[in-house]
Amino acid sequence: MIRRAKEQITEVDPGEIHDLLPDRNGTVVVDVREQQEFEQSHIPGAKHVPRGHLESRIEGAAGDKAARVVLYCASGNRSALAARTLQEELGYENVESMTGGITLWKDRGYDVEVPRSLTAEQRERYSRHLLVPEIGFEGQMKLLDAKVLLLGAGGLGSPTALYLAAAGVGTIGIVDDDVVDLSNLQRQVIHTNDRIGMPKVDSAEQGIQDINPGVEVVKHQTRLDASNIMEIIEGYDVIVDGVDNFPTRYLLNDASVRLKIPVVSASILGFDGQLSVFAPYEGPCYRCLYPTPPPAELAPSCGANGVLGALPGIIGVLQAIEVVKLVTGSGEPLIGRLLLYEALGTTFTNLKLRRDPDCPICSRDPGEISDEEMGVFPDYEAFCAAAG
């Protein structure tokens, strides 16, 4: 049957198709193999119409029945049968089948395109994302490619890390120099009872891998300071800030403005949380909001403070959602706005934040911000000593 089909149609050598590249002069090249075969590799620019769907889909790929249409498959047999169908039954006037299929094409050393696709496991794992139009395949691919840095695997970092891992963020970096303590477990849900005493970066890595082994975890078991910040944060797409002190917040702000990395920033205290996205040069930075830090007695950041265990849950998950929005480019991220959540009264308040045209940092070009200026802040030891 195949031989008979080949007698009825015209065949073309791969070399002739190769020489038509890149614009092919109006020739439509159609791959008639199955989905999985096409996904592995195909001829650059080829349209895909599986032979089983030829009748219903060919017009979408080749609308003009007078145009030259070249079909190929793995070895030239299926495409011969498909060419006969196009010619005899569907009225295509100028159909050819490529001899030897993609196998011969590759043997000749011609380039193939390897399209990106989700594995069957990923399609299942992220199926609920794929069903949301705002994320879909494109958005999921962006999440898989994303590199997100979490500053702290504590109250805020725990839920953020878990949800970003579950969402399929490809690389999650974690900066934390602490070890898991019993008093953390009231709110730091990524850690567990049997990991008390373990470095938080290791415990968080395990929590992430337990949910999604596909995530690459980069551990930075250190404290951020002026000497290491540029090296650590460079290359990340988004930074999630849950740091517990002002000096690091200013340092982070200055470094992230310099590298133009958006920061999803949040803080919590008692029953109150606040959240904003500082996107350099797009919206205000932290110094636009607070050009000077508060005096020590108004800065309860030095010692231990009480916090409702579930509070970092809601604020940290809001951070995770802002990260997903930034990465996938969906919705309106919380740029130039600050969200206050007051749990006792169950109120959410949105405030407008504006760029300060005289901001000491983000009113200037990133190249003008020197190392010496970064994180300029009163002496931290003295600051906290004054707080008592």
Binding site: F271, L298, R354
Partner: protein, 114 residues
């Protein structure tokens, strides 16, 4: 209401104006200032502009004064104040007019994520 406005001031409208100028606003107190307000999260305060409302708050809860205002009487730079959702610094600062039912939000910098 519009028709009344075209009439000369009556005792009744004068009373109304006086009441408006002593408008009662709600001030949202941030966690770090609650020790100074006896733990209250929201405080009602009177005044026709932002400065008056904050001073009325400071009169009632004197510990808040030094935290809100510098020695020159200006708002401390590490404290942001919002009239409803807008930073008063982009409005008329402490002179910004306040109507009854407005909400002032005091927002000092916060850190703490652990």
């Amino acid at each position: 209401m519009r028709r009344w406005a075209s009439f000369p001031t009556t005792r009744r409208s004068a009373r109304l104006q006086a009441r408006l100028s002593r408008a009662v606003s709600t001030v949202k107190i941030p966690p770090v200032l609650r020790a100074s307000t006896g733990g209250e999260r929201e405080v009602s305060a009177e005044g026709s502009n932002v400065g008056e409302v904050l001073n009325s708050l400071a009169d009632r809860h004197p510990d808040t004064k030094g935290q809100l205002f510098g020695e020159d009487g200006a708002l401390n730079r590490y404290v942001n104040v919002y009239l409803n959702d807008e930073d008063v610094r982009v409005l008329d600062g402490l002179e910004t007019a306040v109507k009854g039912e407005d909400t002032l939000v005091i927002l000092p910098a916060m850190a703490g994520g652990r």
